[in-house]
Symmetry: C2
Subunit: 354 residues, 2 copies
């Protein structure tokens, strides 16, 4: 696995100038979506002198456009812009831009160098780091892609001040997940911070700690054959909630689904692995206070189970979970019966006041 | 780089049964084109018992179909067939099938295991080994892809008996190239064998030696940052000839272009690196006797130079060549001026009786 530079800074332009100069790339391309093109790019271009000749590639925003058409458009623009193997691509945006841009860069002429600059908390803590690139295909999320880490990721909190508070909470859920799988100290620090305060210096330090949890795990198992599945905590139930909400025509932010999914999976952890009841209560309360709840009834259970059965992480007919026997005590590749999952959903509803 | 099994055998079905059993893959997919579906697949299916439940994916034949539409079709069929990360894909065909199938497998759910079974001499000695996967895009060859080696390649001469002799010569040109960059012994053995005789036992042994030359070089430099460019001998001029013939509406087999390209580049090697004149004469005679010549006139030179300038391997405005100072004496990243190239083309025409 190549070495990836993770740079934590609030002077993105200076870091970028350094990288472009160090790489000596004759041509630089910047991928943005229409939102980051208007709200983030102008400021960056005005201060990063090395980008004066950069070519801009713009895609439509939103997960729905993380598709083959947009990918083909990026490849075409790289081709028309004369990209060669020494070119550099900069992905400036949320997870949609870094996922798809990373895949485009990894495959154009069998691989250009690329740098991610996440502009949302969620992408900073999750998508931009760890080498999972890809697009959705035929309605399935991240169905096509490669594992390939960005040459560098520049992580900054300077783009977060204009994000809606819901976006901040969504990203923070992945940080909480990292805290849960890391250790009590990290986890307690996260529970005592209020993301709404957006004290950006403190957030950058928490973010660095959180990203480093992911980095350590990914370095140990880049292709997700084992311990990387620890990062899936909350995601089996979370993805099912996310898909259910999508089908209902009322999509929920990814991090909210993960927060609720973590509650369900900590219930299972308590039932099957001895995760302490007091910690479960404490986490559930925090989630309810900050994220509210996912409204589900018994009638939704069959659909939730069916969605869990379709999870990419399953390798046979059984539903795969990552559980914890305590904060930082990871148990990957655990399964649960449908009855156990239904019980966990009952308790989840109870814990989140439904 | 993962370890790749190279299996040389004339009992393909037995090897395949062993692999499928060893991998314990719950689902197997076989990619074929319409030609290999009719001419090769039935015999394999009738003798490989492990393939009884395999799902067949068929694409249209020919380099022109090595495109995004076919790739999307393969992804869809994998998806509809329920492929997961433990599935196995078998690419049965020429370079078009192994290149595109390798790319599809490398990217579906971020990577399935795959096995190549080349059915032409050209793909056995070149495309199926070394991890270059990809498709053509917007009219440019292999514009999109990844470096990813097949988990195993099963190499057999049993499919060659029905190939037209032109196809055999085309593949043999890449073997000659491997001989030139390897050593005199290997090279002399190749020059004294007559591919038309198709003594398949002897050919399998020559093929093994030839594939091992490529494998050694690829292991040293999988991503073509250096010595792997040795394998590009003959390909700067060769690709230009191939594209020129294509534009003229009279396409030539890849190996013929490489054979003629090798003559041009050995002329340059003689001019610029002291490659012995006697060896140049000997090689040129062999090529003329077996491949005839590429008809070009002085009027074609500007177009040939323009095509050379567009080569993917160039990293600046200069045209990049691999040259030899002797058999097995490799010099990568050499450049030549337009005047030198024109002179080499003059001598090429002379050596091939034009």
């Amino acid at each position: 696995m190549k070495h990836q530079d993770l740079l934590f800074t609030n002077d993105v332009a200076a870091e970028l100038d350094k990288i472009v100069k160090d790489y000596g790339a004759p041509l630089t391309f910047i991928l943005v979506d229409e939102n980051t093109r208007h709200h983030v790019l102008p400021r960056l271009l005005s201060s990063a002198t090395a980008l004066s000749d950069a070519k801009i590639i713009t895609v439509k925003p939103g997960d729905i456009n993380k598709n083959l058409d947009s990918l083909a458009l990026i490849w075409s623009e790289l081709q028309n812009g004369g990209a060669n193997r020494r070119s550099l691509m900069i992905n400036l945006g949320g997870g949609m831009v870094t996922d798809m841009g990373g895949f485009a860069a990894s495959t154009f002429k069998r691989g250009l160098r690329f740098v991610n600059i996440p502009t949302t908390l969620l992408s900073a803590v999750d998508a931009a780091v760890g080498g999972k690139t890809g697009i959705n295909f035929n309605g399935l999320k991240n169905e096509v892609g490669v594992f390939n880490e960005a040459d560098a990721v520049i992580i900054s909190t300077c783009y977060f001040s204009t994000l809606p508070v819901e976006e901040l909470h969504s990203g923070y859920a992945e940080m909480l997940k990292h805290g849960l799988i890391d250790n009590e100290e990290n986890y307690n620090r996260l529970l005592s911070y209020r993301i709404e305060d957006a004290d950006s210096g403190r957030l950058l330090s928490l973010l660095r700690e959180s990203v480093m949890v992911k980095r350590r795990i990914v370095e140990e198992d880049p292709h997700e054959h084992g311990i990387r599945r620890a990062l899936n905590l909350g995601h089996t139930a979370g993805h099912a909630f996310e898909s259910l909400a999508m089908r209902r025509g009322n999509p929920i932010p990814h991090g909210y689904a993960v927060a609720w999914g973590c509650v369900v999976e900590l219930v299972l952890s308590h039932m099957k692995a001895g995760f302490p009841s007091s910690e479960l209560q404490r986490f559930a309360r925090y989630v309810y206070d900050n994220y509210g709840s996912m409204h589900v009834t018994c009638d939704d259970y069959p659909e939730i189970l069916e969605l869990m059965h379709h999870d990419k992480k399953n390798i046979s007919n059984e539903i795969n979970f990552t559980l914890l026997s305590g904060i930082g005590e990871i148990m990957i590749d655990r399964t649960a019966t449908e009855e156990e999952i239904k019980t966990a959903l009952d308790i989840f509803r109870d814990l989140t006041h439904q």
